[in-house]
Symmetry: C2
Subunit: 234 residues, 2 copies
DNA sequence: GCAAAAGTGTTCAATGTACACCCATGC
DNA sequence: GCATGGGTGTACATTGAACACTTTTGC
């Protein structure tokens, strides 16, 4: 664990540093993917990590996470939730860095993959959560925890709509559930449940491309969703 | 909010300080109570707050929370969970202090109410969560969040046994649920559910005191509980 | 014998789960 | 006309909710 760092002794004089790290998840080409950046500096230069940064003294934690997110994506109306705070003394080499981890769900269409700051990051890329490259720090653990949390959330409320385009078919919605929950769902039961929850609205449009029967396009009823917010998020 | 502190400007040179604060809950005299300490120093000298302390550079977050807990109580086998990290820039006057909040559930019998360190704390006392005194920092918000989380946990798994003595009656168990969930429960349904979950074992003992019919004493089946750990805590 | 808390089952509604065939389209 | 994914309903099991009376004890 912690990439085989040796134990080290600490003097109790230095203060801690605090970062936020954000696990950014999306669905792309039928896979659940996480946004990773390649580090341009030590420690772990050249390794992939989730995007993060130091918290400024004047900003609160949510704002810091949002700032990190904005550096990588063009976000609006994003699902962003504090995940957990990781603070093992050995998680970061040589320095004590505590990180407050967040996770975000967003549509692939909202993301521009470009390196905002070449001093810190040499590359930005989506990686399938199924085959992650070796990661810096404890970021593997953080990503796994974010997947677990996403699963728990999805079983309570339909956060999957944050990952899909504005209009989507029921099959696409079901596939996003299956990707996150890592299990197959029954088509009829899934549709019955979704349609009876009143959070979907028909758009009277349908898919035209492809060589198959067109599928009805739905969008989420944000008004009903908001009214159920208390129910879903308690 | 934050006790009416004025906004202030920050220089980006200083680093943050990081504390852990622990919401310690128990049931005492039929009330859900939280352990509060009276601050002996500024800021908020003389105000009540939840116990906390700075995180040492060599300890991880769980250990820091456990250390704070041990200073106040004689703990063993405690339910301790990271709650949330609070980091509003104005939550602490004059300094930027981010706090990683934990919550703990424990039996009233495991607690010695004594002031361990007179330099920091002038008094230690249980307070009913229904009528809290004015609290330092954002500690009211932290306690309220811990109650919400405790409720969520209790609806999934029987953490209430952490609050009760080793042997307890079904009525006592039900009362602890009712205190935490803030609603009354049906006696027959409650008993049916508890007894069918196989997490209770009869002790063949019963209460003798009082002028009423004796009640059977139960204890929790820690082996079954452990085997269901994966189910309860996922 | 009476006050006070312990103990006990059945019915109904809602929800989740299993399961198989026809439909609309492009080629 | 056929291959491909879209679309549909019923039966059963499990779970949660409502509800009232008898039992045991101390005084």
């Amino acid at each position: 664990m912690y990439n085989g760092l040796m134990a080290r002794t600490f003097t109790e004089t230095k203060t801690h540093e605090v970062t936020v790290d954000v696990v950014i998840l999306t669905i792309h080409n039928g896979k659940l993917k996480v946004l990773l950046v390649k580090r341009a500096n030590e420690p772990f230069r050249g390794k992939w990590s989730i995007p993060g940064g130091f918290i400024r003294l004047s900003e609160n934690l949510d704002d810091a996470a949002l700032r990190v997110l904005k550096e990588k994506t063009s976000v609006q109306n994003i699902y962003l939730e504090q995940l957990y705070t990781f603070g093992d003394p050995l998680r970061y080499p040589n320095t004590r860095v505590i990180t407050c981890a967040y996770f975000a769900l967003l549509r692939a269409e909202d993301i521009k993959l470009e390196v905002a700051n070449k001093d810190e990051v040499s590359e930005v890329q989506w990686h399938s959560v199924e085959k992650l490259p070796p990661l810096a720090f404890d970021h593997k653990e953080i990503i796994e925890y974010s997947l677990k949390r996403t699963r728990e959330r999805l079983e309570l409320c339909p956060i999957a709509f944050q990952l899909l385009p504005k209009k989507f078919t029921l099959t696409e919605l079901q596939q996003s559930y299956e990707l996150i929950l890592k299990k197959t769902l029954d088509k009829r039961n899934f549709r019955k449940k979704m349609l009876s929850s009143n959070i979907l609205v028909e758009t009277n449009e349908s898919t035209k491309q492809g060589s198959k029967r067109p599928a009805a396009l739905y969008s989420f009823d944000t008004i009903t969703l908001d009214s159920k917010r208390g129910h879903f998020f308690s």
